[in-house]
Amino acid sequence: MAVDEQVLYSVKNVKKHFPIKGGLLQRVKSHVKAVDGITLDIYKGETLGVVGESGCGKSTLGRTILGLESLTEGELVFNGNNISKYSARQLKPFKKEMQMIFQDPYASLNPKQRIGDALEEALIIHTDLPARERREKVVKLLNEVGLKEDHYERYPHEFSGGQRQRIGIARAISINPSFIVCDEPVSALDVSVQAQVIKLLKDLQEKHALTYLFVSHDLGVVRHLCNRVLVMYLGQMVELAPVEKLYENPTHPYTEALLSAIPRPAVGRKRERIRLTGDLPSPSNPPTGCPFHTRCPIAKDHCATEKPAWRQIDDGHFIACHER
């Protein structure tokens, strides 16, 4: 899959710190550095996978990119427009281009709204299709994600977890955006439906030159869908590489550990994973130097003090590590 080398979205040194409050007066005690300096170019038409430990800031990165969280620092440049300081009105045309599939599908659906109406929302906002066509389109979307027209009239609480997730997907793709942040879009789907949905996403990408930022824990899915993969650790980038290079030649010790832990769907083949030991670092008080050094099997003394530089080790393959 050749990637068009045209930058769609450029993320420059983005940081997002959440305040932690405490005490009776709710004073800010410290900050969680959920995203701590991500610089990234996302190319038109590619699928950029984001993987990393739970809590390392993947969702926050996705939400920040879409402007759902305010920026603590950094710049967002979409299609050449620096949108970091745009007003809501200025942003509106961009909203149509950028969509999000939320990690938590149930919470992201209005409990008082029928699913059909929820799906029509986006169409009403961004298109001026007449009611009948909207409905047709929604029914088509429902079918595409494996649901039925009868589901149109249902409320969110009447669905199973996987069904809700598919509704979230249908909503995001309904207005043909050019960029979608998919935050674990298929985690609640059984493999067969998952395959169907992934196919759908791929088809759409081919048809409309869609770009995905694909956050997932399912490394199998990532391998099948993504062109490049970003590995995050504690809000920072540790490795970025084209998918094959990453799977064949994981360089950063965290990536290695991650890949080694993939469960295989065959009985008796226990994973021979690299067990990470050492202290779990806290995002409110991240370790100095390399964020991974507390658990890194090959850490040296200087890893604890010096921050490793972000460097290219191969064509399109970057890592931040002193030792590799």
């Binding site: 009776l24 007066l25 709710q26 004073r27 149930y106 609480h157």
Partner: protein, 313 residues
């Protein structure tokens, strides 16, 4: 939170200036002249004119207002046109009564309202729900003067458990409680009805939330499932209503104060409006406004405490 409080205090100052101006203007737009009221129907034109002159009502409007405003900033709320009493003194005389009554009745309202609200929600569409609905609606449809009179007839005149009226002791004394019992119930009934309906409906909204299921899955006793997990989530509108009602109660309630012969702010306000006793009206309105801002500030703080997602930054 500290920021919120500072901001509110600042807003309060502006609000007080604004409201004093508006009340001032309204008192002058509304028909009626303090001088002719003091003079009464028997007064001659000369009498009335002398009174006007004496009260300074012949000065230009804005001069009068700025004089008044200057007074406020030096902590002087002025003197009553009618009784010549210092406004601050009159208010200090009456506010404790109103406060006592407000606290007692809001307690009554919360206890009755929240409990019946919760039970009706749990027993949604049963006889209890129906009965409590009817009682709550009765509670809000029944005029206070009548409820008060009936309570007096039964409990004060016939049974003689409580005094007929008057409020002279603070609420923490036995005597004070006795004096407060009937007015608090009279006044609390309306609020209780509203709180009951509000809690019921709010509980119904959350009772089937997933986290309630989780609580049950943890083996939490049904009582705590309701009292902790549901209630806390259903609390926002209930707290709003409680805050509102408390605010109203603090502003004084004319009818109940009258029926139970309690000398409170509500009556003061009504009497002074009737007498066009401008400084007294201003004083009591400013008091009520301050109280409202205060109560609403507390409500806002409670919001944030109840729902951690709410923030005012």
């Amino acid at each position: 939170m500290a920021g919120l409080i500072v901001r509110r205090v600042f807003q309060l100052v502006l609000l007080l200036i604004g409201i004093s101006f508006i009340v001032f203007m309204s008192m002058h737009i509304a028909p009626g002249d303090p001088a002719s009221i003091i003079g009464g129907p028997t007064a001659t034109q000369e009498d009335v004119e002398a009174i006007r002159e004496n009260l300074g009502l012949n000065e230009p409007l804005l001069t009068q207002y700025f004089d008044y405003l200057r007074g406020i900033f030096t902590g002087d709320l002025g003197f009553s046109y009618q009784t010549k009493q210092a406004v601050s003194e009159a208010i200090i005389d009456r506010f404790p009564n109103t406060l006592n009554l407000a606290i007692a009745s809001i307690i009554v309202a919360i206890v009755i309202g929240v409990t019946t609200g919760i039970i009706s929600a749990l027993k949604h569409n049963t006889w209890f729900d129906g009965l409590s609905t009817v009682i709550a609606l009765g509670g809000i449809s029944i005029p206070n003067f009548w409820l008060g009179a009936i309570l007096i007839l039964i409990f004060a005149v016939n049974l003689q458990w409580f005094p007929v009226g008057g409020l002279t002791e603070p609420f923490w004394t036995i005597e004070g409680m006795k004096q407060l019992a009937l007015p608090a119930i009279t006044l609390g009934t309306g609020s209780a009805a509203m709180i009951a309906r509000m809690s019921r409906s709010a509980m119904l909204e959350v009772i089937r939330a997933d986290y309630v299921r989780t609580a049950r899955a943890k083996g939490v006793r049904e009582k705590s499932v309701i009292m902790m997990h549901c209630l806390r989530n259903a609390m926002i509108p209930v707290i709003t209503v409680i805050g509102l009602n408390f605010g109203f109660l603090l502003g004084g309630t004319i009818i109940t104060e009258s029926v139970f012969a309690i000398n409170g702010v509500g009556r003061l306000m009504i009497e002074s409006i009737a007498a066009r006793d401008f400084p007294m009206v201003q004083g009591s309105v400013l008091l009520v406004a301050t109280l409202f801002v205060l109560v609403n500030l507390i409500v806002d703080i409670v919001y944030a405490f109840i729902d951690p997602r709410i923030s005012y930054e």
